[in-house]
């Protein structure tokens, strides 16, 4: 499948933004994130500090690779997202619903894990894989393309923020 470079760049940019924001957040609140990893109770206790330090580095590296146009970047992002989806799904299955998801904005809103996060990660991973597997059409990009790509990335980030802000409220209204 061949896709337009506009789409390819916009999706790559959006994923790179998501991953770098996530990495920055995890590096800033390293101790909170280590606690979150521990609470997932998937890794043996001895491996937790190393994993907590490694994950944001992998995220940042994947973001950088994606921006450089290397398909390994998108594959790494898809892998990370699927890993998170599996970790969340395992804990939901165990009945640990009230652990901090450790996602972007973890700790701040104390967002507990839920099934929609698994669905979201699967959807994102599928998108990343689809873009990674597609060839990019050879179309010269003009300045208006670049403007559009930039704006599309910002708009996607804002929409992500909107959904994140709206979800706890939807849950609150339901309960």
């Amino acid at each position: 499948m061949t896709i337009d470079p506009f789409m390819a760049f916009a999706v790559r940019g959006a994923f790179a933004t998501l991953m770098s924001a996530a990495a920055a957040h995890k590096l800033r609140d390293a101790s909170d994130f280590r606690q979150a990893v521990e609470n997932y109770r998937i890794l043996p206790a001895i491996a937790v500090p190393a994993a907590a330090r490694l994950i944001p580095v992998v995220e940042a590296a994947a973001a950088a690779l994606t921006l450089s146009g290397n398909p390994i970047g998108l594959l790494a992002i898809a892998g990370l997202l699927l890993l998170y989806a599996a970790a969340i799904a395992i804990n939901l299955k165990r009945g640990h619903r009230h652990i901090d998801c450790g996602c972007l904005a973890f700790g701040k809103v104390g967002q507990p894990i839920n099934i929609l996060m698994v669905a979201r990660n699967l959807l994102f991973a599928a998108t990343a894989l689809a873009i990674a597997a597609s060839a990019t059409a050879d179309r010269p990009l003009t300045w208006i393309d670049w403007l559009g790509i930039l704006c599309a990335i910002i708009a996607t980030a804002l929409l992500y923020g909107i959904v994140e802000a709206a979800m706890p409220q939807v849950r609150e209204i339901k309960s």
């Binding site: 559009g148 704006c151 708009a155 804002l158 909107i162 802000a165 409220q169 609150e172």
Partner: protein, 210 residues
């Protein structure tokens, strides 16, 4: 043509980003509002029959005839909304349509009893002017004293098994609905709701949960 399209695209991107930002700010604002606004409910005045206690037994003659039994197991398995009002209270009149609408909505499981005291002539006038013929009206000072009703309009929700589910001063629809919410959730007051996660404090005034 190209210039026109370019300008149109730029303007649309700018507007789209502005719109997204506005929605994001709006949701954050709503989130903060949720945090600030706790549940709001009817003011539970101190004294009288406590929530969770057995409602005292009363056999009272209704103004329109018949006997109204209050307290104890309800024969029809219905809950009872005891609504205290007075012909001299303008707020009570404004709440009558709300009481009627709740009585209609919950007609299968709810019996509405109006309670007042004083001049029977005025009460009869109120019944006809406010079209309250469908509800029994009892006149009893003892009933008001049993529930320590010091301000009107006041309502008490008694469960079919004879326990008091909720009570409080009613000034609007939300207050009245909060009594039903208290019955549903089993949380008698806002204080009780808040104290579930905190050290208990001794409240002077309690509000039902809305």
């Amino acid at each position: 043509m190209i210039a026109a399209l370019s300008i149109a695209i730029i303007v649309q991107w700018v507007l789209l980003l502005a719109l997204c930002t506005a929605v994001l700010l709006l949701f954050r604002q709503v989130g903060m509002l949720h945090e600030r606004l706790g549940p709001v409910g009817a003011l539970t005045l101190p004294g009288g029959v406590a929530i969770g206690d057995h409602a005292p037994r009363f056999d009272l003659a209704a103004v329109n005839g018949g006997v109204v039994k209050l307290g104890g197991q309800d024969i029809g398995g219905q809950d009872t909304l005891l609504f205290f009002l007075s012909p001299r209270c303008p707020m009570c009149k404004s709440l009558i349509p709300i009481v009627k609408s709740i009585a209609r909505d919950e007609s299968a499981t709810l019996r509405v009893v109006l309670a007042s005291d004083g001049d029977e002539g005025l009460q009869r006038k109120m019944i006809s002017s406010e079209r309250l013929e469908a509800f029994p009206l009892v006149l009893s000072t003892e009933l008001g004293m049993a529930y320590a009703v010091s301000k009107l309009p006041y309502a008490v929700l008694i469960k079919a098994d004879g326990h008091v589910a909720a009570k409080g001063l009613i000034n609007n629809r939300e207050h009245l609905e909060s009594l039903f919410e208290a019955r549903r959730s089993g949380v008698a007051s806002l204080q009780e709701y808040l104290e579930r996660g905190r050290a208990p404090l001794k409240p002077v005034q309690q509000r039902t949960v809305a």
